[in-house]
């Protein structure tokens, strides 16, 4: 009995100590956003790092490869994955150290990288090889490839992770069953379908960069359920709020040097407004609370920070040459 009491007291002590020690690690007041913005500079073969709050440049990371194009950030923000078109390689960047820690050959014209929902695998679209490479993100080893007809361009996963959507240059989106790694359906879309992203309503949003519209795919039916014209050469999409309105889709439209705002949750989307930006808007990302947009401009080589409440530009930050993709930490 004595032993039981002593054990119980010891257990209680450990519990109290644990609670106390965990409490001491909590901040004494809510912390502000500490967003870091990463910009892929294709012609500099580098990644610029910008503080998302002060808009100051924190550094420029050499990717140790050529023509850095797309970025995907791990959910914990520790590792940034970058494609390099000319090298056919992925650069893995340690975001704390701000240095490249691995270089993995995937295939010719490595274009887009997307992490699976659990972040265990990185899927890379190799346009030149017509394949998706699947990389184990813990050991950087390629575990397999999936042939994709027509030159794979963009990749997005459904909310439940059952499907991967891969746009291809031959005007289709390929639906890949992630359990069998086989293409189960090809959905016709428009010319040069490029960027794909999972929307806040669970639909897959894509741009027909060779045309002037954006389409939405319903993963329950694997069909295009809606399209909307936004202007010539739509590029990338982010989701944010304008006051009480939202989430809205913000689309960079390179042909008119604007960001076009579209209702994001409606079955029948409508254009809600436009924001003037710089020359060649391409990459776009919203901060985690949807109040700021970070827009990269491939012609003026800078990043604009836009307040979604007023549509005003808060800062213009010079970055590397041809900034083409923007992502930000939570």
């Amino acid at each position: 009995m004595k032993d039981a009491t002593a054990g119980f007291l010891m257990f209680g002590g450990v519990l109290v100590w644990g609670l106390f020690s965990s409490c001491t690690t909590l901040p004494d007041k809510p912390q502000g956003l500490t967003t870091k913005v990463y910009i892929a500079n294709e012609s500099s073969s580098s990644v610029s790092v910008v503080d998302g709050t002060t808009f100051k440049v924190l550094g420029e990371i050499d990717t140790l490869n050529h023509a850095t194009h797309d970025l995907s950030l791990a959910r914990n923000g520790k590792h940034l994955w970058a494609t390099n078109l000319a090298s056919g390689r992925i650069s893995v960047i340690d975001t704390d150290a701000m240095e490249t820690i691995a270089s993995i050959y995937t295939g010719k014209r490595a274009h887009v990288v997307t992490l699976t929902n659990n972040n265990k695998h990185a899927w890379v679209a190799n346009i030149g090889d017509g394949t998706i490479s699947i990389i184990d993100t813990s050991i950087y080893r390629i575990l397999g490839t999936i042939p994709i007809q027509g030159g794979p361009m963009g990749i997005a996963f459904s909310r439940d992770g059952k499907f991967a959507y891969v746009s291809s240059k031959d005007k289709f989106v390929n639906v890949v069953d992630t359990m069998s790694h086989r293409v189960i359906k090809r959905i016709p879309v428009g010319p040069n379908p490029h960027f794909l992203v999972l929307g806040p309503d669970g639909r897959i949003w894509g741009t027909n960069t060779g045309s002037n519209d954006v389409y939405m795919i319903d993963p329950r039916r694997n069909e295009v359920v809606s399209t909307i014209e936004v202007g010539p050469a739509p590029q990338q999409i982010a989701f944010a709020f304008k006051g009480t309105s939202g989430p809205n889709a913000y689309i960079t439209v390179a042909g008119i040097n604007k960001v076009v705002m579209v209702s994001g949750n409606s079955p029948t989307p409508a254009v809600l407004g436009q924001i003037d930006v710089g020359e060649g808007p391409n990459g776009i990302w919203a901060n985690s609370v949807g109040t700021r947009l970070y827009v990269g401009h491939t012609k003026s080589n800078d990043l604009k920070v836009i307040d979604t409440g007023t549509n005003q530009t808060l800062a213009t930050v010079p970055v590397g040459r041809k900034p083409i993709r923007v992502v930000a930490s939570q």
Binding site: A102, Y105, R141, I142, G144, P147, H181
Partner: protein
């Protein structure tokens, strides 16, 4: 998709006598070089030492070179190596790893770099069959197939890739970490495992 039985593997087209001849030839033809070297661009990473029948090396700029019989054809990062029907070839990398190609085999010489670990030699096997001997102790080598990857841990093994990507690993000695996107299987001496699209590699069998 049909998974091949182990007995079928034992009867594949590999000619054991030719294979042994190539292995012995490889042992004596080139001096062993166990010193790891950086796989810098423009620097040869290995040598093709012997070929029977049609053996071709396609450089990254599209130039094609052939080797017939004994020789010393330098190999570079990005090269695509290809044997035709009824052909075989032997190559050796600078760190001593020997690879024999059976007929109708094609792979690309690649690499992966990691800070603190350096370079890992990667062979992307599109189809055909290779035999690998890492020559005493672990060497950084991985072989990718369309559906699986074999990572070497000081060993000798054979890897056969069917046209549909099905990959059959036979470990002759040592341990190979064999994995698909759905799981990893350490395969030891005298064991066979199969990798198929959309499935975990099979449990080791005899």
């Amino acid at each position: 998709m049909t998974v091949k039985e182990p007995t079928e593997v034992a009867h594949h087209t590999w000619t054991q006598q030719t294979f042994m001849f190539l292995c012995l030839l490889g042992l004596f033809w080139l001096p062993l070089n166990s010193v790891d070297r950086a796989f810098a661009a423009g620097e040869a990473v290995g040598t093709a030492t012997n070929a029977i029948g049609g053996f071709m090396v396609v450089r990254s700029d599209g130039i094609e070179e052939q080797l017939e019989g004994k020789g010393a054809l330098p190999l570079f990062e990005g090269d695509v190596l290809r044997t035709e029907g009824s052909s075989q070839a032997m190559i050796e990398f600078n760190n001593g790893i020997k690879v024999a190609l059976n007929e109708n085999t094609m792979f690309t010489i690649l690499s992966r770099w990691e800070k603190g670990k350096g370079f890992t030699r990667v062979l992307r096997l599109k189809h055909g069959e290779v035999w690998v001997d890492t020559q005493g102790g672990p060497k950084p080598l991985e072989i990718e197939t369309p559906v699986a990857t074999a990572a070497v841990k000081g060993t000798e093994f054979d890897l056969l890739v069917s046209p549909d990507g099905q990959s059959t690993l036979t470990v002759i000695s040592g341990v190979v970490e064999f994995g698909t996107a759905f799981g990893t299987c350490p395969i030891k001496t005298s064991k066979i495992s199969y990798g198929n699209r959309g499935k975990k590699c099979t449990k080791p069998t005899y």
